[in-house]
Amino acid sequence: MNDALIVVIAAQAVTAAVPLVLAGIGETLAQRAGVLNVGIEGLLLTGCVAGFTGAALSGCAWSGLAAAIVVGALLAALFAWVTVVMRCDQIVAGMAINLLAVGGSGTAWLVAQGHGYAELSANAGFSRGIVPGLSDTAQAWLRDLPFIGPLVFDQYGLALATALIAATAWWVLTRTRIGVIIHALGDAPDACAANGIAVRRWRVGLVIFAGALAGAAGAYLSIMRTHGFSPLMTGGMGFVVLALVIFGRWHIGGLVAACLGFGVIDALQSHLQSRGLNAVIPYQVFQALPFIVALIALAVMRRGTSGPRLLGQAWPTER
């Protein structure tokens, strides 16, 4: 039953959706607080290279993941300093972060290659299996469970963590005082300040948290899904995340649904490609598909007023 096509595709969709959800949660929180970070593509790429070099140098996958999280947070801290503290333009600063990440990851990759760290050693990458430390027989039993086996347990460890983070973020945003504050940071920062909330400190914190999540998502791509790094390997995925955040209407639930839907399309197209459709249709169609889907999704969605009111604006607005 677990070999049924629908289960295989659903499992692949989950695998593809995990980094999108992870990076998207951070971006949603930051945008809710009023900060638009188009540098998320760069943060993902940085996470990829930091995760890879960290794991290759230390020979330990966990160090790679930690390095990706730390470097993602640091780069996001630079972005936060420029945009929140110095109140410079968020879009331009975000694109600068992207340039920085493209150059920085390329340089780091060449240096790592030059020192003979072009490949991961056997245990420097994560293998599938959701619960670390569980015995092989137990893992195999979980994996063979009908339906939920492939969907939930035959995934990388970060998948379960992502689900937990998503659930927590949803709970915090919708059910707690902190959630009210985060919404208010993007809708009415003046009112926040009047209530004694340090607007800029909150925004910096959320942007750095988003950077850490994007870094982890990058590590997922390099040391979990592919066990390798290649320059520009994110290939615009960060920009797709931006589209998914909007399509999910800045809600965690909407984001997760959007990412899963996107994952299904991704799994379907790779399945069709492997079935020989790429002989009929040029591969560039598949290459452009994520971006066409993202654009169409944004074009067909109903307009609402659910977004942060002052997205992209520095606070305080007067100098």
Partner: protein
């Protein structure tokens, strides 16, 4: 007097940012074991050490100037066109199409300008897709232009390996443009072509256009405050469409000029003049003449970086790092200076 002061302030911001970034990068390289003086001299020799090298820097500055102007016009008009990369590619592929397959009849003095104009138009049309999506469906331009970049890469890749593919090779590249649709070379022995001179003239024309014409003034007001522009009775929507068309057209022309002047064809290798244009525009403080200087500087940065790569084995990817740092430094320096300029006023009120 005050005008002069403001102008010099802009200059100080750009220079300050450049100096700060140079210090950071040289320090970083020194820690990796490259003495700063060697780096600087090697860089300068690569960028302007001889006539040919300087011509190469000028040739690199050409597309950077045009994409820089494309970004600056858009940002001045308050339109977040991040899509120069895609518009550049669409312009380039149009040039190849009209040069190699859809031949335009007539001599070179006729077909070359026609092909260039058509490429400018397709670049503008690609940009206006984003404006259309914003008008009718409310899709933010900043995001749609980026997504359209990736779609353009795929479209161009498909054309390069499909209808425009050079039948004499298996490599993913188009046929070479015939001689009569190439831009003439200005200096023998180099690839410094007429397009670079045209780009410089366009910069001057844009400067005058923004400064001296009513439309240019309206564009700037719309960019600074669309609500105020609307209250003043300015045609805000029409000006935004115009800005997007000019911006996309400049990027499209840049792509076409690069094909007709330098490469002569398109291949699968990536080009990043579009994204670099944002750095040029910011470094030039969104001023056409400032951008003229900034493009030359970043052109020299790029040719100098290839010299560094050849002689000192410093990866040329570092050039992207420098561009990113320059943008951040200019942003921060601009922020500091604006705050300083306003401080005495705040005390007065």
């Amino acid at each position: 007097m005050r005008r002069w002061l403001v102008g010099s302030g802009e200059f100080v911001i750009a220079i300050g940012a450049i100096v700060a970034v140079i210090i950071v990068v040289l320090t970083g390289l020194a820690l990796l074991g490259h003495p700063p003086l060697t780096v600087l001299t090697t860089w300068f020799q690569g960028a302007a050490g001889s006539g040919t090298r300087f011509a190469l820097s000028l040739q690199e500055a050409g597309p950077l100037l045009l994409t820089g102007l494309a970004a600056a016009v858009a940002f001045r008009g308050g339109v977040w066109n991040i899509g120069a990369e895609g518009q550049f590619l669409i312009g380039a592929v149009t040039m190849v199409a009209f040069g190699t397959v859809l031949l335009i009849p007539g001599p070179g003095w006729f077909s070359l300008p026609v092909a260039l104009v058509l490429s400018t138009i397709t670049g503008a049309a690609w940009a206006l897709l984003a404006t259309g999506l914003e008008r009718w469906r409310g899709v933010p331009v900043v995001l749609s232009t980026i997504l359209l970049n990736f779609i353009a890469i795929a479209v161009v890749g498909m054309l390069v390996q499909g209808p425009l593919h050079d039948p004499t090779t298996t490599a993913p590249q188009t046929a070479l443009l015939p001689e009569h649709v190439r831009l003439p070379v200005l200096v023998d022995g180099t690839k410094l072509h007429l397009g670079v001179l045209v780009a410089a003239l366009i910069a001057i024309a844009l400067w005058l256009g923004l400064k001296r014409t009513t439309i240019g003034f309206e564009v700037q007001v719309v960019g600074l405050n669309p609500d105020a522009a609307r209250l003043l009775g300015m045609p805000v929507g029409a000006r935004q469409v115009l800005v997007m068309a000019v911006s996309g057209g400049l990027a499209g022309f840049a792509g076409a000029a690069q094909v007709a002047g330098v490469t002569g064809m398109l291949s699968g290798s990536p080009i990043s003049y579009g994204y670099a244009g944002i750095a040029v525009a910011m470094l030039g403080r969104l001023h056409p003449l400032g951008i003229l200087v900034a493009a030359l500087f970043l052109g020299m940065l790029s040719t100098g970086a290839s010299g560094l790569e050849r002689r000192l084995a410093i990866p040329h990817d570092l050039g992207d790092v420098v561009q990113g740092l320059l943008v951040l430094a200019v942003l921060v320096a601009g922020g500091i200076s604006a705050r300083r300029a306003l401080r005495p006023q705040a005390e007065g009120t």
